[in-house]
């Protein structure tokens, strides 16, 4: 019996054929890959049929009837984003559903041109919406991943370590931008207050380049540390960086600078009144 009201429902009567047509359209030869795609495609077709059963409007992918389908699409694009596939490939996968749907419509409505036309239009619109939704979620998941990684990087790259009684050190690694300097500054200043340390060493061995902006950030940090009543030493200045600093005309007067962290530590110990002697 042909369902007069909903041509799509009718087209999905044989989900197996639709899935098979879909996979053929994608042209996947590798059997393992085909099996994986078959599960995804089967899931999608099932939730699509469910949505239609619950009276979902095929021209818009909104409302509670399409909840299941939207969720399936979202988990699909999330997993693809995590695998590092492109947005194009992901929406291509969804768009390949058009051909088997059209074929199924052709089979059931081929003898009624007007109804066939209406069915094709509905199917086309629905698949477009699906692809759009997939692309949107895909992009959102990628942005989430990037944001999370950025946060992780910020957390990772700003450890404040206690080197000695009253001596803190921050080994800076990576490019210094205003965002990171701000976080380094905040964590360092807070640690100074918490531990009551009178001396902080900022080690810039891991900073690839020092330009005027980076120097300005460093100067700000040093000034803030001084304002709080602690001293600051900058260490890990490589020969090239020393040259750049002089060529750029950056004024580091009034700031203690050392070539290595070891040198800085020995100055720090001297300043805090420690003396280390060797036994033998």
């Amino acid at each position: 019996m042909i369902d007069q009201d909903n041509p799509l429902k009718d087209a999905l009567r044989d989900p197996g054929a639709v899935v098979a047509g879909w996979l053929d359209e994608l042209g996947v030869a590798d059997p393992a890959q085909r099996r994986a795609l078959q599960t995804e495609a089967g899931e999608l077709v099932r939730s699509l049929a469910e949505g239609l059963d619950r009276g979902g409007d095929a021209s818009r992918l909104a409302g509670p009837a399409w909840d299941g389908l939207r969720e399936t699409l979202e988990s699909l694009s999330r997993s693809r984003a995590a695998k590092g596939e492109t947005a194009g490939d992901t929406s291509q996968f969804v768009l390949a559903l058009k051909r088997p749907l059209f074929d199924a419509l052709q089979r059931s409505r081929g003898d009624h041109p007007e109804r066939l036309m209406a069915g094709i239009w509905a199917a086309s619109q629905l698949v477009d919406r699906l692809a759009q939704h997939t692309a949107t979620t895909f992009q959102k998941s990628r942005e989430d991943i990037i944001r999370r990684q950025q946060d992780d990087l910020l957390e990772l790259s700003t450890p404040v370590v206690k080197l000695w009684e009253g001596v803190l050190a921050v080994p800076m690694i990576g490019v210094l931008d205003s965002n990171r300097t701000q976080i380094v500054m905040e964590t360092l200043l807070q640690s100074i207050v918490d531990s009551g340390s009178g001396l902080a060493i900022i080690d810039i061995t891991g900073v690839p380049t020092v330009d005027t902006l980076v120097a300005q950030h460093l100067l700000k940090t040093v000034t803030a540390i001084r304002l709080m009543g602690a001293d600051c030493i900058i260490s890990g200045i490589r020969p090239q960086i020393a040259q750049t600093i002089v060529h750029l005309g950056i004024d580091l007067q009034g700031i203690t600078t050392k070539a290595t962290l070891a040198d800085a530590l020995s100055v720090a110990l001297q300043k805090t009144g420690w003396r280390i002697s060797r036994e033998k």
């Binding site: 807070q190 207050v193 009551g196 709080m228």
Partner: protein, 124 residues
């Protein structure tokens, strides 16, 4: 209007700022301190701002000018206990308080003033 009390401890004047600074309060403090240094002949001024959480450029400048005024009256000023947020704000405002001595807490500030005093005695 609130006036900020100035306590005398030997040769040191101790000011603890525990309220948010209004411009008027800041100006009054500046006046009072100048008077008090002149009257007592104190050699050191300690300003404890550990309870201060909000600063503007006016308060920042006040700290500088108090240090300058005290310097002319031959007293050393130490600002102690600045909170990280306050330090960052002052730096962002472009105020580095050149010439103002700073210390982490009151104890270290006292030690700093004692050191300066000892140096003066040796020198003079």
């Amino acid at each position: 209007m609130d006036r900020i009390p100035i306590l005398r401890m030997g040769e040191t004047l101790l000011v603890t700022i525990q309220v948010d600074m209004q411009d008027q309060t800041a100006l009054a403090l500046q006046d009072d301190l100048a008077e008090k240094i002149a009257k007592t002949g104190a050699s050191g001024v300690m300003i404890d701002i550990s309870a201060l959480e909000i600063v503007d450029s006016f308060v920042g400048r006040m700290l500088s000018s108090i240090s300058g005024i005290a310097g002319i009256l031959s007293a050393t000023t130490v600002v102690v206990g600045m909170q990280p947020a306050v330090a960052i704000t002052l730096v962002e405002l472009g105020l580095s308080l050149e010439g103002v001595k700073t210390a982490l807490d009151v104890e270290r500030g006292m030690a700093m003033l004692a050191a300066v005093r000892a140096e003066h005695r040796h020198g003079g």
